[in-house]
C-alpha cells in the first residue's frame, strides 16, 4: 500500500470511527458474548456456568411455551398478506386523490406515528367488548362482536386489526413505488386496449413487486419481535394466546432471569433474521435492475 493510500485509509477510518466503535462495541462483541452465554446457565447474579447445548435442547424439545409462542407468532404472520392488500389499496387511493392528497395522506398516516404503547392502550379500549368502538361499528352491520382480547380465539385477530390500523408507513412506501411507475407504460397498455384491472395486474403490480417483497420480509421480522403491544395490553393472556416469541424472550430474560436461555432464543431469532436478510440481498439484484432501468430513461 502506498503512502498516499495509507493516509487516505487512516482518514477514512477516522471519519467512520464512531460507527466502527459502535459496531464492534454494541453489536459484534455483545453478539459474541451472548453466543457464549447461550451455552451457559446464567441468572445475572452468579457467574455464568457452561452447560453445553442444554439451553438449545430445552428450547426446542422441552419448553412447551417456546412452541406456544412460535405458534402464536406464526399465526400473526397472517396479517402480512392483509397488510399487502390494504397497503397497496390505500396507496392506490391516495395516488388518485390529486387535489386533497396532502390532507388524506395525513389522515391515513396519523395512526402510524402513535407510540406503540399509546396505540396499545387506545386499542384496549377500542376492542372493549361492551363499550368498544369496533363492536359498535360491527353492531351497525348487525354483527355481534366477539370479546376480542378476553377471548383466546379472538385476541390475535384483535392485535391484527390494531396493526392494520397503523398501516400508514407501508402506505407511504407503496405510494412512492406507485409514483415511480413510468406513466408511458400505463399509456402504452391503455393504447393496447388494457382495462383498469389488466393495467394494474401487468403494469402496476410488477413495478411494485420488489416493494411488496421488501415490506413483507421486514414485516415478518417485525412480527418476530412483536413485544410492546402485547406487553402493555395482554401480557400474553388469555390462555397464553398472545404469548409471542418476543414477549417470551423478554420474560425469560427480565422476569424469570433465565439469561442464558433467553440468549439462545435471541440467537434463534438472529438466525431467522439472517436468513431473511440473505433473501433480500439475493433478490435485490432484481429490483436494483428496475431502478437502474428507470434511471436510464
Amino acid at each position: 500500500m502506498s503512502l498516499a493510500d495509507r493516509r487516505r485509509l487512516v482518514r477514512g477510518l477516522l471519519f467512520v470511527s464512531p460507527w466502527l466503535v459502535g459496531f464492534v462495541g454494541l453489536q459484534l462483541y455483545p453478539m459474541l458474548l451472548s453466543l457464549y452465554l447461550s451455552f451457559c446457565r446464567y441468572n445475572t447474579l452468579t457467574p455464568p456456568r457452561f452447560v453445553g447445548i442444554e439451553n438449545y435442547r430445552t428450547m426446542l424439545f422441552a419448553d412447551e411455551y417456546v412452541w406456544t409462542s412460535i405458534g402464536n407468532t406464526l399465526f400473526m404472520m397472517l396479517e402480512l398478506p392483509a397488510s399487502v392488500v390494504l397497503g397497496i389499496g390505500t396507496a392506490l387511493l391516495l395516488n388518485r386523490a390529486a387535489r386533497a392528497i396532502g390532507l388524506f395522506r395525513t389522515l391515513y398516516c396519523l395512526p402510524y406515528v402513535l407510540p406503540s404503547v399509546s396505540a396499545g392502550l387506545l386499542w384496549l379500549w377500542v376492542l372493549n367488548s361492551d363499550q368498544g368502538l369496533v363492536n359498535a361499528l360491527l353492531g351497525l352491520l348487525h354483527i355481534p362482536g366477539p370479546s376480542w382480547l378476553k377471548d383466546a380465539q379472538w385476541a390475535k385477530p384483535g392485535f391484527m386489526l390494531m396493526d392494520l390500523w397503523g398501516i400508514g408507513g407501508s402506505t407511504l412506501i407503496y405510494l412512492a413505488a406507485l409514483q415511480g411507475v413510468p406513466q408511458h407504460l400505463h399509456e402504452a397498455a391503455e393504447l393496447d386496449g388494457a382495462g383498469p384491472w389488466a393495467r394494474f395486474r401487468h403494469v402496476t403490480l410488477p413495478a411494485v413487486s420488489p416493494t411488496v417483497f421488501f415490506l413483507v420480509v421486514t414485516g415478518a421480522l417485525g412480527v418476530l419481535q412483536y413485544f410492546a403491544q402485547t406487553f402493555v395490553m395482554t401480557k400474553g393472556q388469555p390462555e397464553n394466546s398472545t404469548l409471542f416469541f418476543g414477549l417470551y424472550l423478554f420474560q425469560n430474560a427480565f422476569e424469570y432471569f433465565r439469561m442464558g436461555f433467553a440468549c439462545a432464543m435471541a440467537w434463534l431469532l438472529f438466525l431467522v433474521a439472517l436468513l431473511a436478510t440473505y433473501l433480500i440481498f439475493r433478490t435485490s439484484a432484481r429490483w436494483v435492475y428496475y431502478e437502474a432501468q428507470e434511471g436510464a430513461r
Partner: protein
Amino acid sequence: MSRSLARLAAGAALVLFAVLFILPLLWMVSTSLQPEGQVLSGTGNALTHLIPRRLAPVNYVKALQTLHFVPYLLNTLYVCVLVVAGTLASCTVVAYGFSRLRWPGRDTLFSIMLATIMLPPAVLLLPQFVVFRSLGWVGTYKPLIVPAFLGNAFFIFLLRQFFLGIPEELTDAARIEGASEPQILWHVIAPLAKPALVTVALLCFVWSWTDFMGPLVYLSDDRMYTLTVGLASFLDRHRADWSGLMAGTTLVTTPLAVLFLLGQRFFVRGIQMTGLKG
C-alpha cells in the same frame, strides 16, 4: 359514464378509509373529555358516545398528576434532545466518510453497515444489556443516549445517499482553495444537506420518543421514567378508568401528532427512504 362511476367509488373509498383511520383517535379524545361513569354507562354505545354530552376536563388534571406528565415529559425531552444531537453529529461525519472520501475498504465496510440495518433490535437487546450492566450503566440514561453518539446505520445510509447527490465540483473547488475535510463537511456539505438533516432529526426524535423497550429495560427508578414507560405503568395502576387512561394517552400522543403535522414533508420523505434500504 362507467369511468365517472369508478371515480365516484374510489372517492367514496378514500373518504371511508380516512374515517376508519381517524375514528379511533377522535374517540380517544372524546372519551378523555367525558366523566368517568359516563363512558361505561349501560345506555348507548361507542358511536352515540362519540360526541360528549357532558365535558369533564378534570380527567386531564387528574391524568397530569397521576401520570406525572410534566416530569416524565422533561425526562423524555432530555433523552430525545441528546439522542438527536448525538445522532446528527455522528451520522453526518460517518456518512461523509462513506460518500465524499475515497479510501481502500470503504465499500466493504459500507456493505457490512448496510447489513446491520436488518439486525432486529430484539436480538441485540439482551447482549447489549449484559454489556451495559457490566459497565454499571443500568439504571441510568446512558444506555439510551450514548449509542446515539456512535451512529445509526439507517440514518448514515440516508445521509450518504443525499451527500452522493451533491456535485463533486463543489467539494473539489473547496479542496483546491485549501479547505480541510472537516471544513468542507461543515461549510459546504452540511448547509446543502439541510433537508436531509431535518428528516433525520425528526425521525430520530420520534423514534426516541416512542421507544418503549429501552427505557423499560434500563430505567429502574420511576422518577426517571420517560412518557411511554410512564404511560404503561399508569395503565397498570388505573386499569378500568378509561376516561383517565384516554386523557393520558392523548397527552402522550398529541406532541407527536403536532410534530408530524408540522414536519410532514420531511417525515414522508424519511419513511419512504426506509423502503429504499436493503
